[in-house]
């Protein structure tokens, strides 16, 4: 079992390193992640939301639905923990 998991780990790591060859260079300011929509957030965050912290304005304003779903995740996890850990009545 140990050798099998070691082999599959090495194969998965080799595939990931092969895939990382096509990634943009580290610190490239013109990488796809930093050119599409994030300049819009940086330029207009103060005008639209009056918040200097761009992370806050994206989290709570531009992508508020994402945060709403996040609270749903937290609620589901809390309910799951409560249901698992509550004292069971003896039958």
């Amino acid at each position: 079992m140990k050798t099998l998991s070691l082999i599959s780990t090495i194969i998965a790591g080799a595939f990931l390193i092969y895939g990382s060859m096509d990634m943009p260079h580290w610190g490239d300011p013109y990488s796809p992640a930093s050119t599409h929509v994030s300049p819009y957030y940086l330029r207009n965050s103060l005008k639209d939301t009056a918040t200097p912290n761009v992370v806050t304005s994206v989290l709570a304003d531009y992508r508020g639905y994402d945060t709403l779903g996040e609270t749903t995740v937290i609620f589901t996890a809390g309910m799951g923990c409560l249901l698992l850990l509550k004292k069971r009545r003896k039958k």
Binding site: S38, P52, V54, V55, D66, V73, L84
Partner: protein
Amino acid sequence: MFESLLHHYNYWMFIGLMMIGFYAMMAKKNLIKKIIGMNIFQSAIILFFISTSVKGGGVTVPILEHPEGAQGGFVDVMKYANPLPHVLMLTAIVVMVATLGVALAVVMMIYKRYHTLEEDEIALIRRKQGLKC
């Protein structure tokens, strides 16, 4: 080859970290060690995403300087790190904590029933009871 190492070594570090977590999840018998492996895996993914938000040298955190002066003015995009991966990873950290909580609750219930956390011992107990494992 050396060029590639220079430009992609951050991804390779995170792949190494991720594979450590992956191996711990598969090979370890103790359930708590499996959960620690899952956490290492998730931390590697978070570090990977944060590393994509870097824009060369001289960038700061995405908090605008002099908000009064920049009102209606021009914001230099190249001066601030990309805020989007930070936001997405904030969500991912919350999901990580939620999965950790549920996993620890499940492990606690397993310990209460079988009084062990080793996978093979649990399988042995279940086999003795005539259950599938």
